[in-house]
Symmetry: C2
Subunit: 468 residues, 2 copies
């Protein structure tokens, strides 16, 4: 244990030692049964007389904090140890009203029999052996890279691998020098907003939408406006003219699942041009498509450099890895790199180099093919089963992603349904929680990433029981 | 390659295919020599007539973009491929003046014969085999965790391991529920500021100091004031009364290396109490101490819950890992967790579980002991050598960390010295760059993390030549 001695302190050295050891025992840093360092070792390390240490240990023993044992050594006694000190005066520091109002969204649901929450993937599909191979190769090759911070935008290797991957899998034309690697899609949105927006600026988000995006914008001092989504995607005509940034999920709207039509895409680009606004195209899950006719990304249609395209490996591989990226207009790249460096230096070199190898060796493409088959089957089964409850599931939902929205006008309070389902071993996500600006629609966002295929009929039966 | 077909598009299907393939070739997404998918495969995948695909391929061949080969297949011709399109209209989006003014600091210096830059560690000391063992164990055990986002504050396992580690190695009393795991110390500072400060609020930083901290505060709309540092640490009397947050490095001031005295620590805590301000104690490198008598952390002296203690594994292990943490007053923990979740969900589960195992198995303690010996020897050699150039190195620098400040009143322009040194294979960091508010002092921040011990005399000789 680290011990501190201060010659200027009016307390004697023995008292200083005694106070610190006693505090460590009371606070649980020296747990019951721990052996104190020998008096000789402490005296040598601190360059003080051994008798000073013996004095301090003697007092601790006399007061019952420690006990000497035959054969040597002093050990912390259990009886003297109250629970660890938790916190301090709890009200000394308080979060700003904006930060205190941020609500957690969609994390940390407990394990259950059936998991139909949104945002999950099937961890059993994660190619552990392939990843380990790449991780060990990266560890062996990184050597010099452990000495220093990496480039804030990610290494040339990972950016090159990403440019190739998103060019082929998503039709996004980019060069590696337009890419900044982030900790995920939302982290990329945050970085873009931080470079483009000033406190007091207006940003537009989809309503319903993914609540964390509005939350993070608010903690930047940005004013957030919700814009409705219909069957063709974001209603461009409803955009506030003051918006400096528009966040959209055109490939697969979260949570409603609609694909933004070509007309709307072009209208949105024209709108952004007219209002000198930026578009953040959040393509969080479009690798998983079960039909062959998607539309071009906004990024590909954009001729003016207004679109920042953000993506993530949370769905295609695992949310546990924390890798995302932004493909930015070149005019923004220097500021994105510098601001990112000031906040958190760089992505994890080890993780990104592992991913670069994982892509280069073809493991990602193989995993993607396999996972698409599994999820496609689940999508088919689930959409058929859910159509009994909500006919719009079949007619309006598109063949993409890992969740289906379920609108249930007669459903009672979402929170109540979610809680009741959890009691019966079924985890659900509320649709209501995705509305922040208008009257929420009752329903569920049904994720099929984590549920085993044979469990789907049972899970849906449990769902039906919960909503009735 | 992903191809997009839109029934509502007025172009024929063949033209849509042709346009997209041509664009992919011109933009380099389909590189020279790449083989196009067979017409049969494309037709099946897109559920269109094979003749439509043949038509599109025929046009590409006629125009010289691709060439059919005997034995089958169409291949991209090199001649038709200009360089990849870089960016778009470069001025469509521009960063805010604040973001555009952020300067990069201390990253990405090239390899050289001798590296005396600040912020480096010795990558050759990184315990690759131990880390690999833990990483593979974590991969084997994580299974279910690949399905979902982790807790935004980090798992109970990593927070428990961190609480134990910092209790023993740094004398910081905390329980795991006060800890939020971050991507590094600076990232922790950012998170705390985002939860505590509003745009327009005032924050105080050390002058000279670590420039990225002031930069990240500015991109949050915070007004940043520099406060001087003397031989006893931050000059508490010079703090602006309006400051809501004070960022300090009391264990080892960056860059000057002084340790904040006990009197100043207590004065700072009293000041913060009087002004209802927060203190961010940034303990970025205090694991490496070469003498036995440090002072208690502010966090341990704090009785009101005003101190957020931040630390990092960038120095003790490697900056390439991106793991840091904040030990926060309990009053702030819920907001820290929620805001962090909105920005980037959670730390990397794989990396944090690897570190938890690395700590539990005792590998971190062993690595720390070994590295401390190596760095202690370098510190001794370097401080002796540098004392010839600046007598204050010997008398005023403390026995901690991985860098020594070198003040050279007669030194010509820092940038010039750094550039000239780089030409001769020596990398240096400027002291001048660490001043942001007042007249900069000429000198260097000499890091000894990355230089091999036997190289120190040669590196110092090269340094002497550069500054003269």
């Amino acid at each position: 244990m680290e011990l501190f001695l201060d010659g200027a302190d009016r307390r004697s050295l023995a008292t200083q030692l005694y106070d610190q050891l006693r505090a460590a025992i009371v606070e649980g840093r020296l747990p019951r049964g721990a052996r104190l360092e020998s008096t000789r070792a402490v005296a040598e390390r601190l360059a003080i007389a051994r008798s000073t240490v013996t004095d301090a240990y003697g007092r601790l023993t006399a007061e019952g904090y420690v006990q000497g044992r035959r054969g040597g050594g002093s050990f912390v006694l259990g009886d003297a140890v109250p629970r660890p000190r938790r916190g301090r005066a709890p009200a000394a520091l308080t979060a700003t009203p904006v930060a205190a109002a941020v609500r957690r969204y969609g994390v940390e649901t407990p394990r259950a029999r059936y998991d139909l929450t949104a945002g999950r993937v099937d961890g059993r599909l994660f190619p552990v052996a392939d990843w380990r191979r790449c991780s060990n190769q990266a560890l062996a090759e990184l050597d010099g890279a452990f000495s220093s911070y990496g480039a804030p935008e990610g290494s040339p290797e990972i950016r090159e691998a990403l440019a190739q991957w998103i060019g082929r899998s998503r039709g996004v034309a980019s060069t590696s020098d337009q890419i900044v690697v982030t900790h995920g899609a939302t982290h990329a949105v945050d970085l873009v907003a931080r470079v483009l927006l000033r406190p007091g600026d207006v940003a537009a988000v989809e309503e319903p939408g993914y609540p964390p995006v509005a939350e993070l914008l608010r903690t930047l001092g940005v004013r957030v406006v919700g814009v409705p989504v219909d069957d063709h995607g974001l209603v461009v005509d409803a955009l506030p003219p003051t918006a400096r940034l528009v966040h959209v999920t055109p490939s697969h709207q979260f949570p409603l699942g609609v694909v933004m039509s070509r007309e709307r895409r072009l209208a949105l680009l024209r709108w952004a041009g007219r209002h000198a606004a930026a578009i953040v195209e959040d393509d969080y899950d479009s690798e998983f498509r079960y039909s062959p006719r998607p539309l071009e990304p906004l990024h590909l249609l954009d001729r003016d450099g207004r679109v920042a395209y953000v993506g993530s490996f949370s769905k295609i591989l695992s949310p546990a890895l924390r890798i995302g990226f932004v493909v930015a207009p070149t005019s923004l790249v220097p500021a994105l790199r510098a601001v990112r460096q000031s906040i958190d230096a760089s992505p994890s070199t080890l993780t990104t180099e592992t991913l670069a190898l994982f892509i280069e060796h073809g493991y990602l493409a193989r995993h993607c093919r396999r996972a698409r088959k599994v999820y496609g089957e689940r999508h088919r089964l689930l959409s058929r089963a859910l159509a009994r409850l909500d006919p719009r599931v079949a007619s309006r939902t598109t063949q993409v992603g890992l969740h289906l929205p379920l609108r249930l006008p007669d459903m009672p309070d979402d929170d109540h349904v979610v809680a009741r389902a959890a009691e019966s071993g079924l985890l659900l996500s509320s649709l209501r929680r995705t509305y922040q600006f208008t009257e929420p629609q009752p329903g569920l966002v049904v994720g099929f990433g984590a549920v085993a295929t044979p469990d789907i009929p049972h899970a849906v039966a449990a769902l039906e029981r919960s909503v009735r």
